[in-house]
């Protein structure tokens, strides 16, 4: 029998008032996988992540993390289960310093020593943050903010990382760095990543699997390589 997927989504449905934003979405993500969620504006990508992380209530369906049902637990409990969501724009708290932002990510753990060790690791991963630890996060550039956002998420020690458009507004080179770093994280610590991207080409280039959303439904899923090669698909939904 195949290994149990780390994340399973069954018939997930979410709505804003009378408007259905997600319609019976099914997904499975294997442990250590990096998968892309693609689609046009308003396809439901962000809503999918928000529903997975509990920020948005699911109308129906289930979210299973290693078999445990986490559909109805409050958003702030998800870190305890190892699912961490980096929202669009990163959600860096600009009023706090870089170090405070990072510390915040690890606060839910009890062990002081463990938190310190994590901090050292994260700072190691993102050298630009090390020199700016005591600066207000508001002074960071866009790329540094995204690093800080991912760093804060890593402080929580996630098994599954949900990333909403980490490349938004970043220069291609910076985007490349962040994507490479995701690959390295996957290799180093078996991290599973769900990556929402507008930029389908760059997302498919680093992921192994892709889901294409359209009007709240998964209209196609396949390996990233085949999605990249499928011209009809690219024209219809991905716009390149």
């Amino acid at each position: 029998m195949a290994e149990q997927p780390i994340l399973t989504v069954e018939g997930l449905t979410a709505a804003y008032g009378a408007v259905t934003a997600l319609n019976k979405v099914n997904m499975t993500v294997p442990r250590g996988g990096i998968c892309a969620v693609l689609g046009a504006n308003g396809a439901g990508k962000t809503t999918l992540l928000r529903t997975l992380s509990g920020l948005k209530r699911a109308e129906a369906g289930r979210v299973l993390l290693e078999g445990a049902d986490i559909t109805r637990i409050p958003a702030e409990r998800h870190v305890h289960h190892g699912l961490v969501h980096v929202p669009e724009g990163g959600g860096v708290i600009v009023e706090l310093t870089v170090e405070e932002n990072l510390r915040l990510g690890g606060l839910w753990r009890a062990g002081r020593r463990e938190r310190a060790a994590r901090m050292a690791e994260v700072v190691e991963l993102f050298p630009p943050l090390r020199e700016r630890l005591s600066r207000p996060a508001a002074t960071l550039s866009g790329g540094e903010r995204q690093m800080l956002a991912i760093g804060r998420a890593l402080m929580a020690g996630p098994r599954v990382l949900l990333l909403d458009e980490p490349s938004l507004g970043l220069a291609p080179l910076v985007t490349r760095q962040i994507m490479d770093m995701l690959l390295q994280l996957r290799a180093d610590r078996d991290l599973t990543v769900v990556l929402v991207e507008q930029n389908a080409r760059s997302a498919l280039s680093i992921t192994d699997h892709g889901f294409v959303l359209n009007q709240g439904e998964v209209v196609m899923e396949d390996s990233s390589r085949r999605l990249l090669a499928d011209d009809r698909m690219r024209h219809a939904y991905l716009g390149f």
Binding site: E76, L107, R152
Partner: protein, 283 residues
């Protein structure tokens, strides 16, 4: 010169009271975007509890402790039971609720303890030019401000509270129980409010005893900038000093006018208050 020193010292001790009450308003405003008009009523009930406890035990300080504890409980209960249900709607809802609570609690205080003034003790000797009571006012507010600063700045709880106030959603995603942090903020604010009440009430306590102080505290908070705890402290002291000088040199009947003048002048120069950075509002 002697009169100037006198007026300065008086202004400082009076300003400390405004500063404390202003601080309690700012803590809540920062976290919930609500000006808590019930603050004087929460403080009032705390002071009445202190009065009752002191009467029963004969100890001022037992009453003092009871007041702070009452403030803590009342603040937490107000947030949890009255403000939380309207959270996420227009802040106007919460403001109306606090106004209603103010009226209800003041009425309740009159029913329980009567509308007649009771004599209420100073914490220490109040006679003389800068009495021990004045020192106590200044010292206790200063200590409260320092403790608050240390809490916000150096403790995990403080970090969570700030995160919850600035970016509730990002805080939740980091595992912060935002609701709990708001409750804690209201509780802490009400403790400081109760402290201000204990300092402001003597020599008499009656249901409207804190009204005037509260008006000046709002002015102090606005002068300092509603978003900035340091601003609230500075605004309180500035207002206390300004009113004291006007009262001493120009006549006590002009003090209220002086407060208004300070408010108008500061706001016409810095509309967001002295210590707030003007920020673009997100639309």
């Amino acid at each position: 010169m002697d009169q100037f020193i006198n007026l300065t010292l008086n202004g400082l001790s009076q300003g400390a009271v405004y500063a404390a009450l202003a601080l309690s308003l700012v803590i809540i405003y920062q976290a919930t975007r609500v000006v808590n008009f019930a603050q004087p009523a929460l403080a009032l009930i705390s002071v009445y509890i202190a009065y009752t406890v002191s009467q029963a035990t004969g100890s001022y300080w037992l009453g003092f402790g009871a007041a702070l504890l009452t403030g803590l409980v009342l603040g937490a209960a107000t947030e949890r039971l009255l403000i939380r249900p309207v959270h996420g709607r227009s802040p106007l809802n919460a403001i109306i609720i606090t106004l209603g609570l103010l009226l209800v609690l003041q009425g309740l205080a009159g029913m329980i303890w009567s509308n007649e003034p009771h004599s209420f003790a100073y914490p220490m000797d109040y006679r003389g030019r800068f009495s021990p009571s004045d020192w106590f006012a200044l010292g206790s507010v200063g200590a409260a401000a320092l403790m608050l600063f240390a809490l916000y700045r150096f403790t995990p709880l403080g970090l969570r509270m700030r995160a919850a106030a600035f970016r509730p959603e990002a805080a939740r995603l980091s595992g912060v129980r935002v609701g709990l942090m708001l409750t804690a903020g209201w509780a802490i604010a009400s403790v400081i409010g109760a402290l201000a009440g204990m300092l402001a009430a003597p020599p008499f306590i009656f249901p409207n005893v804190l009204d005037e102080v509260f008006i000046f505290a709002i002015a102090a908070a606005v002068v300092g900038g509603l978003e900035n705890p340091f601003g609230a402290l500075a605004g309180g002291v500035l207002l206390g000093l300004g009113m004291s000088y006007v009262s001493g040199y120009a006549g006590p009947e002009l003090t209220t006018l002086a407060a208004l003048a300070i408010l108008v002048v500061v706001l016409s120069i810095r509309p967001d208050g002295l210590f707030s950075r003007p920020t673009a509002r997100k639309v």
